[in-house]
Symmetry: D2
Subunit: 341 residues, 4 copies
């Protein structure tokens, strides 16, 4: 790092880029000095919002600017690998939008490159940094859910349609990164059933099933053709259950002190007795922090400390491996596929 | 029919039986005269609520009572076939709780028996008779949804656990009968992914996927281990979309005047342009009628007119065929199975 | 009491009467033997539902039937006093729908009569017997809310319009009985602002404000002309706040661990520092019991033990005194009125 | 105006000021060139977000800067009058946060000053510019509600507590400006019942009742001590009813095709028959525009055209007159007060 304040250049000023710019501005110790886009309209938009930021069309100019410490990449997926590789080679730390790259080979190479150059490679799996997901992880770690049985996620909306990817790579990736963070391991098997209504080459609805070693099942419904926005994840445990509703403004997490008690009748040993335990529901207080702000600060901390980010290259690689297995399953009409470790 | 008023005997007075008794009492032209259960406690309960009803332990006494016109069967699944067969043979009309029987062979034999004896065989797929489902069917028939793309249903709750069946036979059957009524045809392929947490022999969570000839996909999430009761069905069409929320007390159906417009750029023919059409949402007024009451009255009409009920033996047979394919898929770890026509 | 089982006669079989009949049937140790109504259609309806109950047109026949122990009165308000008086004089215990009577003089006389005849006079302020209201009272008693500041209730719906009374006597009476139970004392001052859109002689919208000795304010919005049914009560305390939503099926009570911390800056003594304490929200588990069933059982207990019911004549008298002050306020255009103790 | 682009200076960079700055930046034809605050921390915050904006401590420097066309004032109420007067005298157009000033005399003088100097005086009653409120006004104008009976508004939250004003001036002012826009006239009578729990000198809960000439009643519940944020307005008309829920993200307005039909029985002329008409509910599509952006653009249009803004000085004066009557009512314990025309 050349100075106390980290200088950031942002490539890609579409839908998400301005959020990245704003959050680097709001984080202590960082400043956005330049941004780059192919569309002059987007650059004008950024200039109006952030008049001090230099704008440019050529990403190389930004990547090779010696005054820039960090390159943040918020471009379409197809360009991630080339841009991130060039930035790492130029000695920059990289803040990379998800998905990290199009293949696990590419992500693997970025991980290796960052390691050799001793630069921080951060992939913006932003949900991992929300208070809600962090609270859920804490509760799982403390054993509050008992044995986790299943995770069921619904992440649907009317668009936005993306031409550069399908709904699995666009939406299920959020759930996959959350699951990677919560469970800390890869699923064993993946199967995906998809449908392509708008464009025969790209799924706009998909049902993803993940099976883990210890019997946990995760099921994801992702959909670009739904009438309303739903982002609900149910975590069913033997002791407690959680509903995480990301569309709620305040009470995003509800913890249900409910469970099932299985006992065996001593008289009739063959007969299983099932009863329900129903207690209070509670919604724990969550910090109001914006996930992207927490992500940016964690990234800046990792640059300073040299530590691997929670969603560094290795975590991103695990997520991409699951996506690749999902893609293979889609190609084979929903066949169960092993995730390559 | 022996008289103006149809005399009904009810076998099985557990959870659902008393509802059947009450609804026959409330329907004009019918009267419950007897009921039967193995549990004296349940008979006492019925006596307190309906003091005029004779109670008995032996179903044969009820089935062979010449004063009884209709036998309603609300017992566990394993007994459906024997009881219904005996009642039809005794010349009774039969009101049979779902599932009609344990196999399509059995249902086929009941259908045949009812035909030969000229008796009405009615299977209580009660959701078909709700104002909500009838309104949805009307909208589909009128072409209001445009081309139907997908149906996504979530039907989950904490129990009640049933020892005599699994979650697919207990809950997905409702969706299958609704789909049969809405779409009027069998799915081509079925696959089911299930998990058994409480009892290794019986699934308590399942994800059912149905594929129809014309590209419609239906997906059902059924679950006995969920912290809250959810009964939501999304129907996504090219012109409009519906959310049917059966847990809502008043506005069970919401119609979204939303759609996706796909056009092709004349300049760049290869590029597809996707845009969204977003209009009003509305919740049509629904009759407040109880589904079971509508079902009972339809059954009584069919007895009088000799017509086949909407959910007669043939419809029940189609539902059972799908359940059998689902069961085969479960046995083979989620394999895609053809539905036998 | 003549026998082990209490014999009940019900006068008035309109909207609420059949609920009363059903609940006496469901309560152990009671049985409805007769009912009475001026409308033959209502008697036929009851006969179909409860075939063992004798029906009659003349209330005197029921009141003076020596086989009857309890007279339950679910008729229009104008007849309450005469019927209850006759029943008490005939030595019956009385289960009286709210409002107990049209004036505090009348209620006072019924109280006195019941005392002299050693009979139980019970007024069916049914919300007092719901698990939700009982839970709230428990929390207030335990000091969980800290100092109670205010109660704000909204009880609105589209009708049902009642010709025999106004919206204050029809709906606010529920809140007044709940407040009487929760706070255990009369308000000091009452003011009511009402409007009469449908009928110049009878308010269909009203805003009732109650002021208590210790600074507590209660405000009630009651309305027959609202598009949706709302029944929400907020209780604001210094330590915690409760929202009681009676329209919710399961989580009727939400407890917010929120409060306001007022401190004074030592440097600038004149400046008050206000900060907020925000903690978890929780929804305590409530029993699923039906309020009317709890009420009926409590009434039967009081008959057996000779104890004064929680909503006996004295409690009903307090509620009527507040209604009378409310009525005076309405007559004087919203003037503040003292409640006569 | 000195140039094509309107140059804006913003005084007050607390909670709301940065929103004003951003919205002037986003509006075509305007630019924020300077801002002013007594707190250096707030100026640093603005500098980070809007690096091109000059910051200063002295408002006079901003007001008398000849390069500035517009002075936007987002300071505490006590300073509004002096700052706005100085700005108008210096020939600036003024964008003034609500409440316009502390008394109707002050607002009257600002109106007069703006008139004489031919400058635009705009008061930021921002809700008037939301799509929801504009849609409601359109429906009222088109007669869709029939005869309007009542407006009931609940605007409550846990704080934020304000030291410079009470809850009526802070929150009810929003409803008063919406009502002024919807109804286009002053109420005749105002009464307010308030309570002061945190600070004996300032109400934190209040119930405001407004009576209009034609029998319309408006009732406002405003509250800084509520556990959750509620912003719901019900408009009850003879033909239709609206619920406007500002906390909803998408469907802020729900229109209920419900009404009450009052007829008279020909046989019994004295008897009024009340029945309910219940039809569909619908949520009209609303533009997603930010209210403040619409307000800023309207303000800029008025500068260009010389027209009086919808929420110009005259409208603000009407709102202040109602607030003054409300304040008198509070002082007299809820007495009904006339609004001075």
């Amino acid at each position: 790092m050349r100075s106390q304040t980290v200088s950031v250049g942002v490539i890609g000023c579409g839908y998400w880029g301005p959020n990245v710019i704003r959050n680097f501005f709001e984080a202590p110790g960082a400043e956005v000095v330049a941004c780059c886009d192919v569309d002059p309209g987007r650059l004008r938009f950024v200039s109006r919002r952030f008049p001090s930021v230099r704008t440019m069309h050529d990403p190389d100019k930004l990547i090779y600017d010696p005054a820039i410490d960090v390159v943040a990449i918020a471009t379409p997926l197809a360009t991630h690998y080339e841009l991130a590789r060039a930035a790492l080679r130029a000695g920059k730390h990289v803040f990379l939008e998800k998905p990290a790259a199009a293949t696990s080979q590419e992500v693997g190479r970025l991980v290796e490159l960052a390691r050799r150059r001793r630069r921080t490679l951060f992939v913006d799996h932003v949900f991992v940094y929300t208070s809600a997901v962090q609270k859920i992880r804490e509760m799982i770690r403390q054993g509050r859910l008992g044995r986790l049985h299943y995770v069921d996620s619904v992440r649907i909306n009317l668009g936005p349609y993306r031409h550069d990817t399908n709904v699995v790579w666009d939406l299920a990736i959020h759930d996959l990164s959350i699951l990677d963070y919560l469970l800390g391991r890869l699923p064993k098997l993946v199967s995906v059933l998809g449908a392509s209504y708008l464009n025969a080459n790209s799924e706009d609805i998909a049902y993803v099933t993940l099976q883990y070693d210890d019997g946990i099942i995760a099921h994801l419904h992702v959909n670009w053709l739904a009438p309303v926005k739903v982002r609900t994840m149910i975590l069913g445990g033997s002791k407690r259950m959680i509903i995480y509703d990301d569309v709620e403004l305040v009470e995003k997490i509800r913890v249900y002190d409910k469970g099932i008690v299985v006992s065996r009748n001593s008289a009739e040993l063959h007969k299983m007795l099932i009863s329900y335990r129903i207690g209070d529901m509670y919604a724990p207080k969550l910090e109001q922090a914006e996930g992207l702000q927490v992500a940016v600060r964690h990234f800046l901390d990792c640059i300073r400390s040299g530590r691997e980010p929670v969603t560094g290259g290795e975590a991103a690689l695990r997520v991409i491996r699951v996506l690749e297995a999902a893609q293979r399953s889609l190609r084979h009409g929903g066949r169960m596929e092993r995730v390559r470790p």
